[in-house]
Symmetry: C2
Subunit: 299 residues, 2 copies
């Protein structure tokens, strides 16, 4: 079981080095992250995109010898070329460079020409070190579906459980978050939480302990759960936090980053290979951790 | 302008001491908070409720000489007696003890017999020290309305602006939060944010600079706002964060408390006198700050 980010880095450093292809790599933030990850021995990189711009960034920063660079005429071509490098086995994971997330994901997840031939459900997970107890805390989904319905929530849970299990968490504890820990028919996500908990009890969601609704505090802090008299195997010790909608996930991810100043790795789950999706405003540490996680997950 | 909690405490200590009446005070957490606030010279307290239980808690903790104690036969009577102490001028603010928040608020906000004769809109504000720049950050409303409609959001903003102005913030900067900073018709709160911003532009919300939607990071961090190219007088320097619904407000309040470990004061705005509403799991520091804020706001 991966207990913390230090351990994740060490495991990746000790394994055979993976190659990550970067689509539309002409972005100094992205190339800096690749350089730092390369310096740590985490991965090799192929930078695909506007070759003159990429070369200029590399020269200006003395990154010159670190990367292979392939020219592509435009963003769409860059993604297509990157996918081909994955398909030919030259790269193990793909990273978004200087192009719109929606353009990148659309090309990537195209059933015929992308990296999702089985048309799997794709979701996003944020990971950070737990604040209470040891281990990693998974948070999903603060990036993709706006108002997930019950079935989408089930798929989000299953993707996160798959990821947790890859990280060595057998039977991860899944907490379904809301504003309160009781059922209130006026708050739809408390109803969804009740239903999803029972679905898990009946084996309709497997490989995890699922419970909810919880407010954030009684999901992560045992003291807080005990104060409220909430029992069960998930209360106070959740491994996976499932948010009710995009807004809650986004504000939680952002407050952990910008107010609690924790490093956050992210993962896109469901594609055929790991996908590295970082944002410009992510810290360099968070970008490197996201790259390390992609290397860990690439087989 | 109150810049931080230390300054708030000092101002209250320097002013004439206020008296707070506690309804159903038979709770060791509540009495401990009162004792600490009293020790700091912030307020005097009248403890109303089950007199034998209150006395036992006081004796067991050597708080004996600190408080006046009045007996009331049950919770409803305790609130009624507390309101009468406010009306007779013996107390300046009211604090919730060991009873359900809904019971307490219902009795308190009763138009005829409570402390809301003008039937004002009541809302909840959390306050913490800003993470970027100096000053206090107000967050509303993570406690009361579940899915506020446009008009309710306007009232929530107006209450928070009133509070900010009492704290010396002239023309406070109000950021309307969502998951993203662009308008997306599929995300209703981005639409509401656009409408509320324009209402403020046209003078329908006054005394404040209102803008949105923002994601949390570009509301509070100038660097983040600049990264995204978001301009205007609110971006990156919001004083007041208005959340789209209860779930977002609750998770943000909780993550600031339980993951970022910041102290949070809270205020209930709209009643005739300040209302102290603390929860058992609040830290003692946060409870004392909430008491200090009530003293500051009581005239």
């Amino acid at each position: 079981m991966i207990e913390n980010f230090q351990q994740l880095i060490q495991i990746v450093q000790a394994c055979e080095k993976k190659t990550i292809v970067v689509s539309a790599a002409e972005d100094s933030y992205v190339i800096k992250a690749c350089f730092e990850a390369h310096k740590l021995g985490l991965a090799d990189f192929i930078l695909v995109g506007n070759e003159p711009e990429i070369t200029e960034i590399c020269i200006n920063n003395s990154y010159s010898s670190a990367f292979k660079i392939y020219h592509s005429s435009d963003h769409a071509t860059a993604v297509k070329d990157s996918v081909n490098l994955i398909k030919s086995g030259e790269a193990n994971a793909i990273m978004k460079g200087h192009l719109h997330t929606s353009v990148f994901l659309k090309a990537l997840l195209n059933k015929e020409q992308g990296l999702n031939s089985s048309n799997s459900f794709i979701s996003h997970v944020s990971l950070f070190e737990k604040e209470y107890g040891s281990g990693l805390q998974l948070l999903t989904d603060g990036a993709m579906p706006i108002e997930p319905d019950l079935n989408t929530k089930k798929l989000i849970i299953e993707n996160a459980v798959k990821l947790a299990s890859r990280l060595g968490y057998t039977k991860p504890k899944v907490a379904l978050l809301s504003a309160i820990e009781t059922i209130n028919p006026q708050i739809k996500d408390t109803i969804d939480a009740a239903i999803l908990s029972k679905m898990a009890d009946r084996g309709q969601i497997s490989g995890a302990l699922v419970d909810g609704p919880f407010a954030l505090d009684n999901a992560i802090s045992m003291q807080s759960a005990q104060h409220k008299g909430i029992t069960g195997p998930v209360a106070g010790q959740a491994d996976i936090l499932v948010v009710p909608n995009l807004q809650v996930g986004n504000v939680l991810h952002k407050s952990i980053t910008y107010i609690a100043h924790k490093n956050i790795a992210t993962a896109v789950i469901g594609a055929e290979v790991p996908v590295v999706l970082t944002s410009r405003t992510d810290s360099i540490e968070s970008k490197v951790l996201t790259i390390a996680l992609a290397c860990y997950l690439s087989k």
